[in-house]
């Protein structure tokens, strides 16, 4: 308890771009990179794996089980374990977060493909679509809302989880929490929380917009109904 105000605007102004490694702008940039790279990698891996699990159902049970196990591990635990392999680098944060993304996205891809109505699939077959083209042009587009739902969860979680990486020295904006804690200084902590929450809201909004762009049929239906 002290008289320190919750926020000192002049500190923010001085440290936004102070040229050093602890500038808020630099931390923000590394935070975005460390949060979004796992989501991109995760999506690239989850799409083929999800499609495979949807096609060969026997694959899904063991995969889902494994993902459940990974998802139950605390992020700090995974960071610590990877620390012995990849050291105090950004990779140590990015790899575990990629696994968390996979744990959310693989079930989303499988559920999304499972939710494609049978009559749609049969129509595509009847129109002469071969399996690969049917997957790319019919099934995956229809699955977009469910997959993007998973992607939204994965992105927002990833953005907030990066900050735990600060405990191993690679936390982007999370480093502000350590700084604030060590100096009993509220401003960096508040700045960190606000920026991370803002990043999460912004990314979520962009993904909602992406869904709007990718599913024009849902707008058409709403228009006529």
């Amino acid at each position: 308890m002290n008289d320190e105000p919750l926020i000192r605007w002049d500190w923010i102004a001085r440290n936004w771009d102070n040229g050093g490694p602890s500038a808020i702008k630099t931390l923000l940039e590394s935070h975005v990179a460390m949060a979004l790279l796992p989501v991109v990698f995760g999506l690239l891996v989850a799409l083929p794996l999800g499609v495979a699990c949807a096609r060969w159902r026997w694959l899904y049970q063991p995969t889902a089980g494994l993902m459940n196990v990974i998802y139950s591990l605390p992020s700090l635990v995974l960071f610590s374990i990877f620390l012995s392999v990849t050291g105090l680098t950004q990779t140590t944060v990015i790899i575990p977060l990629t696994f968390f993304t996979l744990a959310v996205l693989i079930p989303a891809v499988v559920d999304g493909l499972g939710a494609v109505p049978d009559h749609v699939r049969q129509s595509a077959v009847a129109m002469g679509f071969r399996p690969l083209r049917r997957l790319l042009q019919v099934e995956l587009p229809v699955a977009v809302p469910v997959v993007l739902g998973g992607l939204r969860v994965a992105t927002v979680s990833s953005i907030s989880l990066v900050s735990v990486g600060a405990l191993i020295g690679q936390g982007g904006l999370g480093n502000l929490f350590i700084d604030g804690w060590q100096r009993q200084f509220y401003t960096p902590i508040v700045v960190g929380i606000v920026l991370i929450a803002a990043l999460a809201v912004l990314s979520d909004g962009l993904l909602v917009f992406a869904q709007w762009l990718l599913t024009p049929w849902s707008r058409a239906r709403r228009g006529t109904a």
Binding site: M1, N68, V69, Y71, S72, L73, P74, S75, L76, V77, L78, S80, I81, L83, S84, V153, V156, S157, I159, S160, L161, S163, V164, A166, L167, I168, G171, L173, G174, L176, F177, I178, G180, W181, Q184, Y186, I189, V190, G192, I193, I196, A197, A200, V201, D204
Partner: protein, 220 residues
């Protein structure tokens, strides 16, 4: 592997106030306290909101906020504001972060129940609270348990990070190990927490088998 042998093979790590047994008990104690308080708040609230349909926006807002807020930031801020020294300031963020998964899944569980089932229950002459407790709650149980499981995992995870702001428990091995570059402690602690998280996961799987009515399980 050598690190694991260093950590688990060291007799000093098995006794005293910072030994493994004490740390496990501490971790369980804080986690259980936060989890139980969260469950006592969130399950009834979720049932009520799901049953009456009022306050659904609260559920959505709490779910989104909890996911977007950084755990570490919240812990550091709350503990600095309220004061270091006692366990209470650390328990608050733990509880706050444990509530949304339970709330959302309990709510979804009750909302997702077939309207016919609800109507049939009312048609048979059951009253509101009877419908809620004898029909809706058992049917929503798989999702309620899912929410409880996600919440318990979240608590174990947050309690680990909370070692940074002075909470005891297994996170201490990681945080102190990192500070003193004793990596065998870091890895050993991480393995113990992973085992604890898996035990929680397994416990809920068994609980699910034991308490969910076979009829409900078949539908899902």
């Amino acid at each position: 592997m050598n690190w694991l042998i260093d950590f688990f093979g060291n007799a000093d790590n098995w006794s005293g106030p910072d030994g493994i047994p004490v740390r496990i008990l501490e971790h369980l104690e804080f986690s259980a306290a936060a989890f139980l308080i969260a469950a006592v708040i969130a399950v009834p609230l979720g049932l009520l909101i799901g049953h009456t349909g009022r306050g659904a926006f609260l559920v959505v807002v709490s779910a989104n906020t909890a996911r977007a807020l950084p755990t570490l930031g919240l812990l550091v801020l709350v503990v600095l504001l309220i004061g270091v020294g006692t366990v209470l300031p650390v328990l608050i963020p733990l509880i706050v972060l444990a509530i949304p998964p339970i709330l959302v899944n309990t709510y979804e569980g009750v909302r997702g129940i077939d309207a016919d089932l609800r109507d049939a229950a009312y048609g048979m002459g059951l009253r509101g609270h009877q419908v809620l407790f004898q029909v809706l709650t058992p049917s929503a149980l798989p999702l309620i348990l899912l929410g409880l499981r996600l919440s318990a995992i979240q608590v174990v995870s947050t309690a680990t990070v909370a070692a940074f702001v002075g909470l005891g428990g297994l996170g201490r091995f990681i945080i102190d190990g990192l500070a003193t570059k004793a990596y065998s402690d870091v890895i050993g602690g991480a393995v113990l927490i992973a085992l604890l998280a898996l035990a929680v996961q397994l416990g809920f799987t068994l609980l699910n088998r034991a308490v969910v009515s076979p009829g409900v399980r078949q539908v899902r």
